[in-house]
């Protein structure tokens, strides 16, 4: 375990001031951060943790207000999955929350922590920093590019890294055009999830947060009348696994055909991947097996399967799974 200090912040101002100091990070549920620290996988690990769970007023809430579903950053995934309003009107978010890990981790893990988790790649996460990967060290290499990459990107590298987005929540936020409110500004979800350049100090992040910037709230616009959303996740096991392919879909139907479609893939690229071809294919169509299949096929175009040593354990399966997940998610919005 890396050595660290731990302080309980009582106000968001206190937390902001504390996290602005070098080597400091906020801790929410700790389900990602503590495993990262325990394995001592990174030379950039924070040495001071600032506890957000003690902040008053609490950042754990779900409410509908001003045309948005507002979810406090400290809200647990269990609370989101169980919330009846979320399930009824922001279905994809509830489904994504329910699909994360296991009940214990959902009770512990928060939505803020979920969209700020570190990359998932065996090389990045390997104990004791034995692989100097470029998400940790600008002079490092992407070992997965030619090594073990079964779980990795099928749309090529992002800033040299082929790790796939691990968050189940992120694609939903992009698909639903969410705002991510921080102590500094309000981000559009589409701009928030990035893979920073290796030269950037934020290179370990899956988002563009500045040092000391804390997520306080997620705002999801209430979908227009006739809209439905769905989230489909696929992994080898039916529980506990991170997504290997996921699809978040929001469709609006009027007069029997789709007037707007938002289709975003997760776990197939370093950031949520908007499947523009699939969206175009679906708009103007009725939602049925044919249109859903066409959307799936369109979503799976432009892929680049990674090379593997000896040709084994390739990630080519993801292309097929993208088709199926998009098809299923589209049909689920019918």
């Amino acid at each position: 375990m890396n050595l660290f200090t731990h302080v309980n912040a009582t106000t968001i101002a206190e937390a902001t001031a504390a996290t602005a100091k070098a080597g400091t990070a906020p801790i929410a549920g700790g389900s990602d951060l503590l495993t990262y620290l325990r394995t001592m996988c990174s030379p950039n690990a924070p040495t001071n943790l600032v506890n957000l769970k003690t902040v008053v007023p609490s950042m754990a809430y779900i409410k509908e207000e001003g045309g948005f579903l507002k979810v406090g950053a400290l809200t647990t995934l269990t609370a989101i999955a169980n919330d009846s309003t979320t399930l009824a009107k922001y279905t994809a978010l509830a489904q994504a929350a329910l699909s994360v890990a296991s009940p214990e981790l959902r009770n512990q893990g928060t939505i803020g922590g979920n969209i700020c988790q570190k990359p998932r790649c065996q090389y990045f996460r390997f104990d004791n920093d034995d692989f100097k990967c470029l998400r940790k060290d600008p002079a490092g290499t992407c070992f997965a590019l030619t090594g073990v990459n079964t779980y990795h990107s099928v749309f090529g590298p992002l800033n040299g890294c082929v790790a796939a987005l691990p968050s189940d929540i992120a694609p939903v936020l992009v698909a639903m055009n969410a705002n991510i409110v921080t102590t500094v500004k309000t981000w559009k979800a589409a701009d928030f999830f990035v893979v920073p350049n290796v030269a950037d100090a934020r290179r370990e992040q899956i988002n563009a947060l500045a040092a000391g910037e804390i997520v306080t709230e997620i705002q999801i616009p209430t979908p227009a009348t006739g809209s439905k959303s769905a989230y489909m996740k696929w992994s080898f096991r039916k529980s506990i696994d991170f997504p290997l392919v996921s699809a978040a879909v929001l469709t609006t139907v009027a007069g029997g055909s789709v007037t707007a479609a938002s289709i975003v893939l997760g776990a197939v690229y370093g950031q949520p991947r908007v499947a523009t071809g699939a969206q175009t294919a679906l708009v103007g169509q009725a939602i049925n097996a044919t249109s859903a299949t066409a959307a799936g096929t369109a979503a799976a175009t432009g892929t680049t399967v990674l090379p593997t040593p000896g040709g084994t354990n390739s990630n080519s399966y993801k292309v097929q799974i993208i088709k199926v997940m998009v098809q299923k998610a589209v049909l689920a919005t019918a």
Partner: protein, 753 residues
């Protein structure tokens, strides 16, 4: 055997389940809280080469660090590196975190040699040397010719099948408690608490490594936190003792991290094979030519030898060749692991049998039954012994009837379920190389105490559910005591127990159990000798041979109303100690197949499994619809334990077939699937327990105590049923690519990835 009162009684619980459930079982790391130091390892960053220098200065300078040891101090370490992540040094510190951080500060330089990670590369002529065998990378483990050999058999065949089966899965099962030890010295004596499943093995390992008299090593093993053979050897006990010595004898704890546990412990083999089968048109085998290779990692002595065992023994075939070769690689050591070489061996030969059935246009189950040996038939190979109890036919029959196979089997790729998925079903099974009876080296001690109860001190670890309870059951039966009066005293304590041997090879119940049977008879004889000094027996001038015991009473055979309870006999009698040793497998209870009682025989377990599943051809996902696991126990001693073993066997077979597989980074040779979630243990949602059906069947082994032989390993061994059922569903064979048949590989077989 309807006279048995305790053996097989379904109401008997495991004696330690409560301790585990209530968190009261003591594990090695629970020992000496508050007065022990902690440790961490520095491991190699190369897969092959030699340590040139080690500079511990920065580690030693870290506050809280007490000592650094290297391979120079530790007899179980070496400067020669044969795998990535091999231990080269260790740190002792005031807490585990300090030790771990200090270990990162140790600077090591190496002379680097070329590693060989891929077993196919290793086998190639002119391959670089792995370094563990002089001048080569392969070792023939065994070679056996029967009749005129495989080629002669092929010449008599109407149909031949030749198949090369690629490497099966290799994986470490990642125990809940990692391997651990706590050691402390008092003068020239060392006490070690360890998670070992083999207490006396550990004691000898420490004594031999440190050149100590055996009675200077006090070795204890209580909770093991699960062991599948990978806690048979206890090198970490030696390391803990060395570390403790380095800090003046103060207690030191070695507790492997998940990463270290994955890198250092033994694991399941990968097996590759080239199998040729010849048969008449009706399916009668005429010839087998089977060659197996086992990737043993850096352990050239790994016991891969019996990969062919089930194919060799289960079916009749007059002409055959069997060959097994060990292939070394610069990867973690393969070795003892649950059922060792039978599951991957069977995985390979069961695929070959199913391929032959397909070629013959036969139901593969019918092909197996056509060639199944009669239970009383002797082994076809020297020394041609009969089996004390061969129940493989019972197992096949049971899974066949209970699964409804007859009405469910269809030609490959021909049944579509209502939801569009493909339906598949298959049965595999074999006589297993495990479950044998290890002779007289097993010792037992039972003590009848003043309250008329019996203490059973087992000299073995608690490696599994049931081994210790089984010893108590056998003792209770032989002593004629109610089961609740026979309790496990201290176990795994090498100071107060005799050597019960390892809990592995499925040898424990029948071997240590045999010793307890004899120890109980010895105690019983002493009890009868004491009883005749008490009235009414004294006044009736009864001699010990006129007595019998049942349900906690000693009674007169001729008049059972004349009786004394054990407690009455023991009043005024000093505690009675009974000693016994086990026996080698001989036909003790009866003759078999015309072979006389008393002859040396084989005693093995056997099992069969049926998998029924659905394959989603769009996603490659496999859902187990039903799993039937039938195991020949010989005699079920501990019913609840046997059922739990078989249920866990279902879980493990599904794990092996569909999820488990180590992943290696080829350039570095690092096993990079070291974290717990990468072990891919199936979750409750991946295997629905209510779909498991388990059956303990009793062949009444003429060699074992009360007819028992081992079953803990045969019950995990038929994961081939799953790949064969996937074939039955899809008509395609999945290449496991040294791992499990995960959906990506199923899709690849279907041409969709």
């Amino acid at each position: 055997m309807d006279t048995l009162n305790v053996v097989g009684n379904p109401a008997i619980h495991d004696q330690h389940s409560n301790l585990i459930l209530l968190g009261k079982m003591d594990y090695a790391c629970d020992r000496l809280p508050g007065r022990k130091l902690y440790s961490a390892f520095k491991s190699s960053s190369i897969a092959h080469g030699a340590v040139k220098s080690i500079d511990p200065a920065a580690a030693l300078a870290l506050p809280g660090v007490k000592a650094v040891i290297t391979y120079k101090d530790c007899p179980v370490w070496s400067p020669n590196i044969f795998q990535w992540g091999q231990e080269v040094a260790g740190v002792v510190a005031i807490d585990a975190g300090t030790a771990a951080r200090a270990a990162l500060l140790i600077k090591v330089t190496y002379d680097v040699s070329k590693p060989v990670i891929d077993p196919d590369e290793s086998m190639k002529p002119g391959a670089s040397s792995v370094g563990v065998i002089q001048g080569k990378n392969t070792l023939i483990a065994n070679y056996l010719t029967r009749g005129g050999g495989g080629e002669a058999g092929m010449a008599k065949a109407d149909v031949t099948l030749e198949t090369v089966q690629p490497w099966s899965t290799t994986y470490q099962h990642n125990t809940l408690e990692t391997h651990s030890a706590v050691a402390e010295w008092a003068g020239d004596q060392v006490k070690v608490w360890c998670s070992s499943q083999s207490a006396f093995n550990g004691k000898w390992e420490v004594a031999a490594a440190l050149n100590l008299p055996i009675n200077h090593v006090h070795f204890f093993t209580h909770g093991t936190g699960c062991a599948h053979g990978d806690k048979n050897s206890s090198p970490f006990a030696v390391v803990a003792a060395v570390m403790s010595k380095a800090v003046g004898g103060q207690a030191v704890q070695v507790a492997l991290t998940r990463r270290d546990n994955m890198l250092f412990n033994t694991r399941q083999f990968s097996v590759r094979s080239a199998i040729k089968l010849g048969a008449k048109k009706d399916g009668t085998f005429t010839g087998i030519d089977a060659e197996f290779w086992g990737d043993v990692g850096r352990n050239p002595m790994a016991p891969v030898d019996n990969a062919h065992f089930g194919l060799r023994t289960t079916y009749t075939c007059p002409d055959a060749d069997f060959k097994v070769t060990r292939v070394v690689t610069n990867t973690p050591q393969r070795g003892f692991w649950r059922c060792v070489n039978d599951p991957p061996g069977a995985f390979n030969y069961d695929i070959a049998i199913d391929k032959l059935a397909d070629k013959l246009g036969m139901d593969p189950f019918a092909l197996r039954m056509k060639n199944l040996r009669a239970p009383d038939a002797p082994d076809q190979d020297p020394p041609n012994r009969v089996w004390g109890g061969n129940g493989v036919g019972l197992c096949f029959d049971k899974v066949y009837t209970s699964s409804g196979y007859q009405s469910k089997w269809h030609k490959p790729g021909t049944r579509v379920l209502a939801d569009g998925r493909l339906h598949g079903i298959a049965i595999t099974g074999h006589l297993d190389s495990h479950g044998y009876i290890v002779g007289s080296t097993r010792g037992a001690l039972v003590t009848i105490t003043a309250d008329g109860k019996c203490l059973v001190n087992v000299g073995g670890g608690r490696g599994s559910e049931g081994g210790l309870t089984s010893c108590c059951i056998i003792t209770a039966e032989a002593l004629g005591m109610p089961p609740e009066d026979v309790v496990c005293g201290d176990w795994g304590n090498t100071d107060v127990a005799l050597d019960g041997g390892m809990q592995a090879g499925s040898t424990f119940t029948a071997s240590a159990g045999g010793a307890f049977y004899n120890a109980a008879l010895d105690a019983r004889a002493k009890l009868f000798a004491a009883a005749v000094n008490h009235s009414p027996f004294f006044s009736l001038k009864v001699t010990p041979d006129q007595l019998e015991a049942k349900n906690g009473f000693v009674y007169l055979k001729s008049d059972p109303s004349q009786r004394l309870s054990y407690k009455q006999v023991m009043a005024g009698t000093p505690p009675i100690a009974g000693y016994g040793t086990g026996w080698n497998a001989t036909l003790r209870s009866r003759s078999v197949g015309g072979v006389a009682q008393g002859s040396v025989c084989n005693a093995n377990g056997s099992a069969a499994a049926c998998a029924e599943l659905a394959v989603d051809t769009e996603t490659g996902q496999v859902e187990i619809l039903g799993y039937w696991n039938a195991v020949d126990t010989g005699r079920t001693i501990f019913k609840q334990g046997a059922i739990k073993e078989m249920l866990s066997g279902c879980e493990l077979m599904i794990h092996q077939a569909l999820f488990a597989g180590d992943v290696y980074d080829i350039p570095s040779g690092a096993c990079i699937s070291t974290q717990f979630n990468e072990s891919m243990v199936p979750t409750a949602m991946d295997m629905k327990g209510e779909r498991f059906n388990v059956y303990d069947l009793e062949s009444d082994d003429a060699a074992g105590p009360y007819g028992a032989h081992g079953m803990g390993e045969p019950c995990v061994t038929n994961y081939s049923a799953i790949i064969c059922a996937i074939f039955n569903a899809t008509g395609k064979w999945v290449d496991p690519e040294k791992g499990a048949c995960t959906p990506n590989k199923v899709l690849k077989a279907l041409g969709k990835a």
